[in-house]
């Protein structure tokens, strides 16, 4: 066996499992971790070790699943697997699917009691314990195949891990079975404790009370019986009329056994290793190990029912926390169909913050109009963000990972709800001026993309100014990240606007005027800001293609706002962006620019047509300046790429117009054609390849050969190379009929 083991390991030395070997979700998904996924994680000897450990746990489990009766205690195989289970259980806990096997074997009496004891003692959950495995072990208990000691040990285990059982409905159905165990004198105290944990109001029945009173008469005043009775009395004071002593120091014997410490150790270790926010199934049992003051720990509260319903219970004149309320408890909300069935009587949890980790409640939140839920969330999130911010609060930097996770969660929630939180916006405004641009960078920049669109803008002083400062002083990569997130910000605003337009048409809400003009102003402000920082960045960084890509990517959204998002606004890129893209050394940028100019044209033409047809009264018209700017650019572009007349015809004040005298001084021979689609530095590579294909024997690279029919072939060649932007641009903006004479740009008529 040993040999097999060792020969097996080297076969898969690189199939390393996660750093989150202790990631509970991995267990939940069914134990085996997808090796493909895990390749991305760094490899280390410990991981390898844990990998083989997992294999040996699986071997042990399958051994215990098939084990025959009466295996000798001294059997080496048994001992080996037993040790494996014990050591893994103590180190990282057992996966949910392990419990069924081990409980079955321990309670079936197949093996010796010492083995059963060791197995039971090692039942430390890594995450949850499936209810089904508990139910089947109760059936083993009923057929009493195992000894009394094992039964007791099992009950003590069940009490200790009660909170780890994933569901308890079926367990509640077994209430009567547990109750019947009360007659066993040894089991009675533990059964009482278990019943105490299981009891609900509906479990209290007169015959059970009678039985308990009988037992009490027989056994005397036992604290465990009294505990159960007092709970019954608590639920149904009218049924339990006896007086019980008011105060009790301890009701139950300590049944925590060996598990409690192990469970805590496993949880702590798992939490350390896993950066993911675990779903908190034990809301109150937060580890308090860290030496932080009260309430300064980042905890997303667990969902729990709002118990503050005093109004309704007023007539009863007592506060009744236990009555089965009309509303559906959020703790029980597990599936989407439950949500649909109970949506009419669902109540939000007592702490709104808990919705962040509960997608079902987020769905619910999406369809409620109650403003107070947003206000509750607003306060909680605002306070948490400020309190936990690692660069605003001293001594917080050690918790950066934790804060990152939180920001990530907030961002995901915003994506889910498709709207930004105003608390988040305020947090950004407060903290950006202090931000170093490094800490939690990607999280912060993503949150920026969800800044809500507000029609009164504080953006300039609160967002643009601090962001610009960081932008100009940071790396190229940072600049691109900022541009990316501002593009997403713009898209989020535009999406919101489109959705808002739709809902507006349903109900005739207030006149659009103020908000639409406000929106247009705010969007324009953002676009101008990006235009400005892009111009400066291109100069600072000396026009790198990488940066240009992100800038043009932004304008791909801008150029289509009218048609795609129904926003009556089009803004041309500043000359500081347009000309570097036009004269770029890279065909990607030039192609992108061509596409953008094509979309500008399409949008402007559509706007013009709408304006002329006057099907509806337009509140907004594009200013003639926009058309003018477009025309100037198109003249420059066509002059550059097509008619080789840019130096004469470009009329943009920052354009390429130059005197012939000056151009002659450059001693460039054919300066006129030097930026057309053949000679343009971004295109020349294509021209060379084209020449090689068209005239394989010619080695002189005579570019002037590309003309007439060949010119058309060359164009086809370029389109086939994937220059789709160039294609749509040339097809739309260049009037090829009058090709013989210098073709004229098909300008939009103003």
């Amino acid at each position: 066996m040993q040999r097999r083991q060792s020969s097996k390991t080297p076969k898969q030395p690189l199939q390393i499992h996660h750093k989150n070997q202790t990631d509970l979700s991995a267990w939940r998904k069914g134990g085996r971790i997808d090796p493909e996924k895990s390749v991305q994680n760094h490899q280390s000897p410990t991981n390898q070790k844990s990998d083989s450990k997992q294999d040996s746990l699986e071997q042990a489990l399958s051994y215990f699943e098939k084990v025959q009766d009466h295996v000798s205690l001294k059997n080496n195989v048994l001992q080996k697997h037993l040790t494996t289970v014990e050591s893994i259980a103590l180190q990282r806990g057992l996966p949910p699917e392990g419990f069924d096997v081990l409980l079955n074997v321990a309670l079936s009496g197949k093996l010796a009691d010492t083995v059963n004891t060791r197995l039971l003692k090692s039942l430390v959950p890594a995450s949850v314990i499936p209810e089904t495995s508990v139910v089947s072990s109760v059936s083993w208990l009923c057929v009493s195949k195992c000894s009394g000691n094992i039964q007791l040990l099992f009950l003590r285990w069940l009490i200790t891990v009660f909170d780890f059982i994933d569901h308890k409905e079926q367990l509640h159905a077994l209430y009567g079975f547990f109750f019947s165990f009360l007659q066993d004198e040894k089991m009675c105290p533990y059964v009482c404790h278990l019943l105490y944990l299981l009891t609900r109001k509906e479990s209290v029945k007169p015959f059970r009370i009678r039985r308990l009173l009988d037992l009490q008469a027989k056994m005397g005043m036992q604290s465990h019986l009294q505990a159960l009775l007092s709970l019954y009395k608590l639920f149904c004071p009218e049924l339990v009329t006896i007086t019980l002593p008011g105060k009790m120091k301890t009701y139950f014997k300590n049944s925590e056994g060996p598990w409690k410490a192990a469970i805590n150790a496993v949880r702590r270790r798992n939490q350390e290793n896993s950066p993911v926010l675990q779903p908190l199934f034990l809301g109150t049992a937060q580890p308090q190990s860290r030496k932080r003051k009260w309430n300064t720990q980042l905890i997303i509260p667990a969902s729990s029912t709002n118990k503050n319903n005093l109004e309704e219970d007023r007539e009863k004149n007592r506060v009744d926390l236990y009555s089965t309320n009309e509303s559906f408890p959020v703790e029980q909300l597990q599936t989407f169909s439950q949500l649909l069935q109970n949506i009419h009587h669902l109540e939000f949890p007592s702490q709104m913050g808990s919705v962040l980790t509960n997608p079902l409640l987020l769905h619910y939140m999406n369809c409620t109009k109650d403003e107070s839920i947003y206000l509750r969330l607003y306060y909680w999130m605002g306070q948490t963000l400020q309190e936990e911010c690692t660069w605003c609060v001293a001594d917080n930097n050690q918790y950066e990972e934790e804060f990152k996770d939180f920001l990530e969660t907030v961002y995901k929630t915003e994506c889910f709800l498709q709207e930004g939180f105003s608390s988040c916006e305020e947090f950004l405004y407060k903290s950006l001026p202090l931000w170093d641009g490094f800490c939690c960078r990607s999280q912060i920049l993503r949150l920026v993309s969800w800044i809500p669109l507000s029609s009164f803008s504080e953006m300039k002083s609160h967002l643009y100014d601090p962001l610009a400062q960081l932008f100009f002083t940071s790396s190229l990569y940072f600049k691109c990240s900022v541009l990316e997130s501002l593009k997403e910000l713009l898209q989020n605003w535009l999406n919101w606007h489109v959705i808002h337009l739709d809902s507006e048409s349903d109900s005739q809400v207030h006149s659009l005027n103020t908000t639409l003009s406000g929106l247009v102003n705010v969007v324009a402000e953002l676009i101008h800001f990006v235009g400005w920082i892009s111009t400066v960045a291109l100069r600072l960084e000396n026009n790198p293609t990488f940066l240009l890509y992100f800038i043009l990517d932004f304008y791909e959204t801008v150029c289509d706002m009218y048609l795609r998002y129904n926003l009556p606004l089009l803004i041309m890129p500043p000359a500081g962006v347009f000309y570097p893209a036009l004269l770029s050394m890279d065909s990607v940028s030039l192609n992108q620019l061509c596409y953008i100019m094509y979309r500008y044209r399409t949008n402007l033409v559509a706007a013009k047509e709408n304006e002329l047809s006057k099907t509806k009264i337009l509140q907004f018209k594009f200013s003639s300046q926009t058309y003018q700017e477009y025309n100037q650019y198109i003249i420059a572009m066509v002059g550059c790429l097509w008619t080789s007349s840019v130096f004469q015809k470009d009329i943009h004040p920052q354009g390429l117009r130059m005197d012939d005298e000056l151009l002659k001084k450059t001693t460039v021979q054919e300066f006129k054609t030097s930026f057309n689609i053949v000679y343009h530095p971004a295109m020349m590579g294509y021209a060379v390849l084209f020449l090689q294909q068209a005239w394989p024997d010619d080695t002189t690279f005579n570019f002037s050969l590309i003309k007439g029919k060949k010119w058309n072939w060359y164009l086809e060649y370029l389109y086939a190379q994937g220059l789709k932007g160039l294609k749509v641009f040339i097809e739309s903006s260049i009037n090829r009929v009058s090709q013989a004479s210098h073709s004229k740009a098909g300008n939009v008529q103003v």
């Binding site: 009701y251 009260w294 309430n295 506060v319 206000l375 105003s422 029609s455 803008s457 406000g518 200013s623």
Partner: protein, 341 residues
Amino acid sequence: APGLVPAMESADGAVRTLPSIGRLSRGPTFGRAHGRFGLSPSGRLLPPAPRSQENADPQRTAFLLRKQWTLYSVTPLYRFSDTHLRDYARLLSAFIAAEKQKGLAVEVGVELDIKVSVSSLPDMKGSDQDQAAILVQLSSRSAASSKNSEEKLIWSGWFCCVSGDDLSENVPEDFTCLPLFLANGGESYTSIVGSWFQKTFDCCFRRLAISPLNLTWMAAMWTGCKVDKTASAMELVFSVPCLPQPLNISYAIHPEDAKALWDTVQKTPGEITQEEVDVFMDCLYSHFHRHFKIHLSATKLVKVSTAIASAHCDGIIKFLQSQYLTGVLMLLTELAISQIQ
């Protein structure tokens, strides 16, 4: 692009009239209305003449004096009602008992080791819009003694709002504004009580530190207050940053001297500006520099003690004069609100 779109109407107005339209988020539009994001106002009005003489019995608030209170800001309480204070006391005492014996059910309403009382302090407010302060007291009963035996107060805390109109005006009906919380007693109890309030009323507690700037405000404001009896000295404590060992400088000033200085600085009675506060502190600093050649402006003000009250930058306050209690609370309420919004 100039002339691109018609000029927008008053932006602020647009938001006020169309609260949830024009925003990509649902959430409060107020709070932002201040647009200050935590900056201090440039001027403050002094609280009107002390109210205590007219409508409040100093005896009733005497127990708040001469105790160290740790300050917290609290976001508005959701569905809090001051008609249910007795119920809250019962639930809270059960919660405390449950926290102490984790895992066991606790009956609501029975006699427990720790008695909780939740009551209202109706005098403790600034304006009529303010919610009356809420006092929470925990007292222990020794197990041996009978019910009527003496109870020992082990922890107390109170929520209050003095002239917190900034906040309360903008909050819907379901919410109760008591933005300032003051606690005296073991932090473990603060933690339990605070957790209960957080869970029950979906609010958020945060320690409220007092910035050195606000401490200078307190120094100036309290210097100007009249105190009948011979007052104790005004004391300012500064800490010197960036030293291997902590070094504190204590600067004590005779209250009459300080008052005389302040009277020369303050121009309009009943109103204080940031400029006046700065001048006052600069005078004190230059006086100190003349004698000790130390620039106090380069150190950090950590504590201000006067006959009215003493305040520490960690957010700890001690009230000394009942007649100025509401005045001090008004400033603290303002600080708490600015931390919430």
